[in-house]
Structures are given as structure tokens and as C-alpha cells.
Symmetry: C2
Subunit: 131 residues, 2 copies
Amino acid sequence: MNIGAAADASGVSAKMIRYYEEKGLIPKAKRRESGYRDYGDVDVHQLRFIHRARELGFSTERIRDLLRLWNDRKRPSRSVKKVATAHIAELEAQIARMRGLLATLKHLADSCDGDDRPHCPILEDLGGDAR
Amino acid sequence: MNIGAAADASGVSAKMIRYYEEKGLIPKAKRRESGYRDYGDVDVHQLRFIHRARELGFSTERIRDLLRLWNDRKRPSRSVKKVATAHIAELEAQIARMRGLLATLKHLADSCDGDDRPHCPILEDLGGDAR
DNA sequence: ATAGACCTTCCCATGATTGGAAGGTCAAGC
DNA sequence: GCTTGACCTTCCAATCATGGGAAGGTCTAT
């Protein structure tokens, strides 16, 4: 299977497949005599794993861990759960931070009339003054 | 005021001050004979504005708009509110997306025992199979 | 044989930020 | 007046994940 077919089959773009290879996430692909990379079903499976993990917001580094665990049939599920919960905590922290921003922004926007007059609490807040 | 002092006074690092200048967010700073950039209170004020806007998650491009409005005493508050609400919508979309991921991840993590045994629904989901 | 679709590597760009190197300037202390 | 150390300058590089494109080689169907 050429890289393009593997891309279609996995949902990972050809560009990113090469990137993951370069980053050592996946082993270097076999090459044909022409130099073309050649992929099999196992490779596509691995790529789909990566694709799904990216969809769930895991970073490349975290996916590296997950792949190692995935390929180790004897890993304790504890190890996997640890990676997942770490990611969950990160997501929760990020969401909490954004909700804070959102609350501040909404408050500011609510207090801004949004009409033709120049008076605007949003800019006053940003400027930290009472212009 | 040297760039370092302006950085301390505004909360924006010297590196980022140069970056904002290069990107045209702030006008090119006056230079002394030595070539050192020289800042006044007005500049620091502008930088604090940027700093605060970054804290609220506005992008550089969006801040460019806000600064233009800030410096225009006659802008209608409507224009400002528009920029702010656009940003609010973006934040909300981002949060919604992350909450979706979070729900999936929590569900997966909950169904994983997290013990010594290798069976793990998290990896099964990522792999899209029933290994 | 030729066209067109595919592949290769290499470089560049994004956005915000930091790090560092090489070299010039300034202020304080001796 | 000179040295020292803290500051400044520009330029280059790296981060992370991704896409764009150029120059050139390969494959396949007509």
C-alpha cells in the first residue's frame, strides 16, 4: 500500500505519516525498490490508533506512551489509565481557565452598551484606566 | 525608559515587545543615539493593554483591532462589543469541543479497571478493535 | 511512448514565545 | 580612566502540529 492509500485508510494525511515516522512514533516504513514507502494493515491500524488519539486531544508525546502500551499485550491497565487521567486533568484545567476568561469577558460585554456612543467598559478594563 | 524597564512596568517581556513592534501592533519605538529603544508612559500603557488582552485570550490580530479602537476616542462601542462577542463565541466553541472530548475520555477511563491486568477499554477504543 | 497521478526529499510558513550567540552601551566602583 | 557586569542590539533557532509547494523520480493506463 502506498502512503496515499494508507492515508486514506487511516485518516492521517501523508504529510503527517511522514512526520510521525520522523518523530519516531511509528517505525520507519519498509521501502520498495523505487523508494516508495510500503504499508500493510498493521501499519494502518497503528495509524488509525494515532488518528483517534489525536481526535481525543492527546499530544504526540502522550500518544508515544499510549502506543508503547498498546503494543505491549502484558501492560497493566493501570499504566494506561494513568496516561488517560493525566490528560483528563490537563483538559479540565484548560477548560477551567477558559471558563474564567469567558466569565470576565461576558461580564465586560454585558456592561457595554454596544451602541453608537464611544463609552465602552471593555476598553476601559483593558486599558486599566477610566478614559 | 529602556526596554527592560518597560517590560517590567507592563508585564510584557522585552522579547515580546520587539515582536509586537515587528508585527506592527505598536509603532516603532524611538531610538536613542546608542540605538536603544526608548519608551514613555504612553507606550507602557499601550503594552499593559496588550498584556491584559492576551490574558483574556485575544489573539494578536484581534488585539490589533482592539488597539485601533482604543486609540480612536470616537469609536462606537458597538465595534468593540463586536470584537469581544466574536472572541466569546470562539471561546465557547472551544470549551464545548473540549467538554466533548472530556466526556468521552472520562467514560473510557471509568470503564478501565486500572489494575494489574492488561485488559483496557481505553486502548480498545483507540485501536478500534477488540484485542 | 506519453500523460497524469502518485511518490520522494527539502524548504518554508503558521502563532506566540523563549533561548542563545555575538557584539555594542551604560553606569557604578575602584 | 578603566574594568566589570548589567543592559541593549540584531539575527538565528527551536517549540508543536500541520499544510503548501518546488524539483524531480515512478507507476499505470491508454
